[in-house]
């Protein structure tokens, strides 16, 4: 069912957008992003026209646009300013700066100015934790906001200066690398790891009996791809996105899965608040990332790759595309890579549009296919039924970097680093209360205390390890080790000193999960909002023990019945802080018993005024006491 094309002043420009993406429905998120760039929002006629051109139901296109935070179905202003709203941004004064900008522009937060010029609001963590507070203007990142920089931004907006003419220093993003190990120290010329992988196969004896094409996905023995896979398995490398699945097993499962085409997807949707290592890897080591993807393609027989880059890192897209083009020119991508017949692999960059849940691999694949980023039912898993239902490997940016190093130096070299169950090194993203926030690479097994000492943290009260979905620990646990067997981490390392209110930290995270729930399943959709409301109620000094119990009950429900990890982990920051920083909650609780959501006695004030009464029995508490007194006398 395709709707008729309406007249639209934008037709020519929209046609160009659609043509640039081959009129493919799988590119819908990219097309919507580009179409929005024309007007700053997606007018109804634009949605209708795109649906017509892509031969999709109009409601489907609107539904996809409505899913992503950075796509607007209502006018959002020519300048759309979003303040990163992670707790570390707030600690750095983001809310005061937001107010300053709103006051300066004479606008209300969350509303478009009457002349349609500008809107100012908040967004989930933009991945600039080490240079907070940060903002996005029309998707472009501006870190290190200060009152002066806010005033400069306000002036540029008032003067309606085109974004591409804003001073470059506003957009300068620092890398802030403070500790290097094998990954950040690696000097790998483009192609070196690939040549090593190919050479490793050549050194092995040929076995005629199993000399079928590696493309067929048969685990034919020691030829190049199989030998490369063996090295990855030998390394014991585990995924760096947080879950820690063994990379070699994932690659092998994909390689042996039946399918016509295999895909390699680099998950650069770095949405976990407090995480920014992938931003630095893509900025400084893009070749290593792409090399790792190509090594993976070689090992599993994939022909197509995607880098799914979060929308917040849009500024990295152009340099990444340039790197991809350069590698293509150097025959490190394309057909017959490095002269190996049949080794064909290319990479396309996809941009997200503001959805944390797309970091979940099956939701990411849905988004790649041009759909709402809703996690799929599993099994089947992406390794057998991924992109377009074909075998697909999805790995984190850092995992691909490590894989490239393993292809170059061998699995035995890598497993000598870190701990037996957590081999290699890990990039940490240190932010919050410390002297030197930034990127720190350590071997797995390093203690939290060591990291705190190195980054210059003092009087530390707590560390949020691996972001809101991770673990919040107190000083008694700083001897714990960062490793899959103790404190697993995807990288975030947020430091809170003893002046911070850990309840407010947890409340910020509760808001984050409510904002980012995809809404597919009932427990997460409603539960994350209930959690947010409970935390706001306690924040407003209206909470009670009943509300604390409610958090625990919701946790049991979300653990038992949520569709994906977002719901499973949404209660973690609340439970962790309740366990370790309980006084932060208790001093806010009204009583240790039940407290209703609204003030019932207060609601009777108007009735009292109208009836001219203010005696004891016109108040709720007194009525209750009278009732119990009556009961005490044994009357019916």
């Amino acid at each position: 069912m395709v709707d008729a094309a309406p007249p639209s002043p934008n037709v020519a420009r929209l046609d160009a957008v659609v043509a640039a993406h081959g009129a493919r429905a799988t590119e819908l998120v990219q097309i919507l992003r580009d179409a929005q760039a024309l007007d700053g929002w997606l007018p109804p006629a634009t949605i209708t026209y795109l649906a017509h051109r892509l031969r999709l139901p109009r409601a489907r296109v609107e539904g996809v646009a409505g899913f992503y935070a950075f796509l607007h179905l209502t006018p959002a202003g020519r300048y759309r300013v979003l303040f990163s709203d992670n707790v570390t941004d707030r600690m750095a004064g983001s809310l005061d700066l937001l107010d300053r900008l709103c006051t300066s522009l004479w606008i209300e937060r969350g509303k478009v100015s009457e002349d349609g010029l500008v809107s100012v609001d908040t967004t989930s963590c933009t991945g600039m934790g080490d240079q907070a507070p940060a903002i996005l203007v029309n998707g472009r990142a501006i870190p290190r906001m200060t009152p002066e920089r806010v005033d400069a931004v306000a002036e540029l907006i008032r003067a309606q200066v085109d974004l591409c003419e804003w001073p470059a220093d506003l957009f300068a993003v620092a890398d802030n690398v403070h500790r290097r190990d094998v990954l950040l120290d690696a000097i790998v010329a483009p192609g070196d790891a690939l040549r090593a992988a190919i050479a490793r196969g050549a050194r092995e004896p040929e076995r005629a009996g199993s000399a079928r094409s590696w493309r067929e996905g048969v685990p034919a023995l020691p030829q190049g791809p199989a030998a490369t896979l063996e090295e990855i398995k030998r390394s014991n490398l585990r995924g760096r996105g947080g879950a820690g699945f063994t990379t070699g097993l994932k690659w092998e499962a994909c390689r042996t899965a039946p399918g016509t085409t295999r895909y390699v997807v680099c998950n650069a949707d770095e949405g976990e608040p407090g995480t920014f290592k992938d931003r630095v890897l893509l900025a400084r080591h893009a070749d290593l990332v792409l090399e790792g993807m190509t090594v993976c393609a070689y090992a599993i027989g994939a022909t197509q790759g995607f880098v799914y880059l979060r929308g917040e890192y849009e500024y990295l897209a152009a340099p990444l595309r340039a790197t991809i083009a350069r590698r293509r020119a150097a025959n490190l991508l394309g057909t017959s890579i490095l002269g190996q017949r049949g080794f064909d692999f290319d990479v396309v960059l996809h941009l997200g549009a503001g959805a944390y849940v797309c970091g979940e691999e099956s939701a990411l694949i849905e988004s790649l296919e041009g759909k709402r980023g809703v996690p799929r039912n599993r099994p089947p898993y992406p390794v057998t039924h991924g992109y377009l239902q074909q075998p697909t490997v999805v790995n984190n940016v850092e995992t691909f970097c490590a894989a490239a190093l393993i292809a170059l130096n061998g699995g035995d070299w890598y497993r000598g680093l870190g701990t037996p169950r957590s081999t290699g090194t890990k990039l940490l993203c240190v932010s919050g209360d410390c002297a030197r926030p930034g990127i720190y690479e350590y071997p797995f097994g390093t203690t939290v205390r060591q990291v705190l000492a190195d980054c210059g943290a003092e009087r530390t009260q707590a560390v949020q390890v691996s972001g809101p979905s991770g673990t919040c620990i107190g000083a008694a646990e700083f001897g714990r080790k960062l490793a899959f067997e103790d404190l697993p981490t995807a990288g975030a390392f947020m430091v809170f000193d003893d002046t911070r209110d850990m309840f407010e930290v947890a409340r910020n995270f509760a808001h984050f999960f409510a904002h980012e729930s995809c809404g597919f399943c009932t427990p997460c959709r409603v539960g994350t909002t209930l959690l947010r409301n409970v935390m706001d109620k306690i924040h407003g000094m209206r909470g009670s023990q009943h509300d604390v119990d409610r958090i625990r009950r919701l946790n049991r429900l979300l653990q038992a019945s949520s569709h994906c990890g977002l719901g499973h982990t949404a209660c973690n920051p609340l439970l962790d802080t309740l366990k370790r920083f309980r006084p932060a909650y208790e001093r806010r609780l009204q009583s240790l018993d039940f407290e209703p959501a609204f003030d019932l006695d207060g609601a009777l004030a108007r009735a009292r005024a109208m009836t001219g009464r203010d005696d004891a029995s016109a108040h709720l508490a007194e009525v209750d006491e009278d009732a119990s007194a009556v009961a005490g006398r044994g009357q019916p």
Binding site: M1, D3, P6, P44, A45, I47, T48, P57, R58, A59, R60, E62, G63, A65, G66, F67, Y68, A69, L73, A355, R372, N377, P379, A514, H515, E516, S517, C518, G519, F520, C521, T522, P523, R525, V526, G527, T528, T529, L530, N533, R553, R556, L557, A560, S561, S562, H563, A597
Partner: protein, 248 residues
């Protein structure tokens, strides 16, 4: 079928349930005459597992039974205190998320949400109401859309796409802002190709898609779920298969 010709079975609360290849636990259970509470599942459509009311436990792990492929020998726990408690909370969540006023609702007595709630022993909402603002769409001459009662089961979405071939309904928004939309630039049902005879109109388990001018033709008290609980009637709807022959 197993090698010796006997039907494959799994255990549901200790009872053997036969199943055909490709069936999910829910499909096999209903076919064999065993009710598992559910809202977004419908025997005519591919299950997608969003409401989570049908969550069961297998080997210590909880999962939606409507999407769980049946496997020979698996032991499925459905009737357990904690699972029942979770089901009640999920139903309560759906009540507080929307605006459900059963006494004045045309769907009362025919409403699956209400019926499942009564069957589970849900007598109050327990949670704080959200009281969302959701305007009606009365634009269509024969149909009314009351979004206040939507539980986002996507049955109309699936029916319109798969049976009617029209894509009249879809979901937009995200998280608690997720909502039903219709396939029209105006956003109004009258501008879609919907027809009163559509499967999508028929399949709504709650009171969102309402036919005009037939309201309260059957008085409340004499409606479908007023007579017997949903746990009995859901079994009648399901495609049945003969129960396994009793062992001699």
């Amino acid at each position: 079928m197993t090698a010796n010709g006997a039907a494959d079975v799994f255990l549901l609360d200790g009872e053997p349930i036969p199943f055909a290849p490709g069936q999910t636990v829910m499909q096999a259970a209903l076919a064999a005459g065993h009710y598992i509470p559910h809202l977004c599942f419908h025997h005519d459509f591919k299950p997608h597992g969003s409401c989570k009311v049908c969550t069961v436990r297998v080997d210590g792990a909880t999962t939606a039974s409507c999407t769980l492929p049946a496997q020979a020998g698996m032991s499925v726990e459905c009737k357990a205190d904690d699972l029942e408690e979770n089901r009640r909370t999920l139903v309560q969540m759906l009540f507080v998320e929307g605006n459900h006023f059963c006494p004045s609702c045309e769907k009362s007595g025919n409403c699956l949400l209400q019926a499942v709630a009564y069957d589970l022993g849900v007598l109050d909402a327990d949670l704080d109401y959200f009281f969302p603002s959701r305007p009606l769409d009365a634009s269509h001459p024969d149909l009314l859309l009351d979004f206040n009662r939507c539980i986002l089961c996507e049955l109309c979405v699936r029916a319109s796409a798969e049976v009617d071939g029209k894509h009249v309904f879809a979901l937009s928004g995200r998280g608690i802002g997720k909502h039903l939309i219709v396939n029209a630039e105006s956003g109004r049902l009258v501008d879609t190709t919907v027809a009163v005879t559509d499967k999508a109109v028929d399949v709504c388990p709650v009171g969102v898609i309402i036919r005009k001018r037939v309201g309260f033709a059957v008085p409340i008290g004499r409606r479908r779920f007023d007579a017997r609980p949903v746990s009995a009637q859901a079994l009648e709807d399901a495609p049945r298969r003969a129960p396994p022959e009793a062992a001699p």
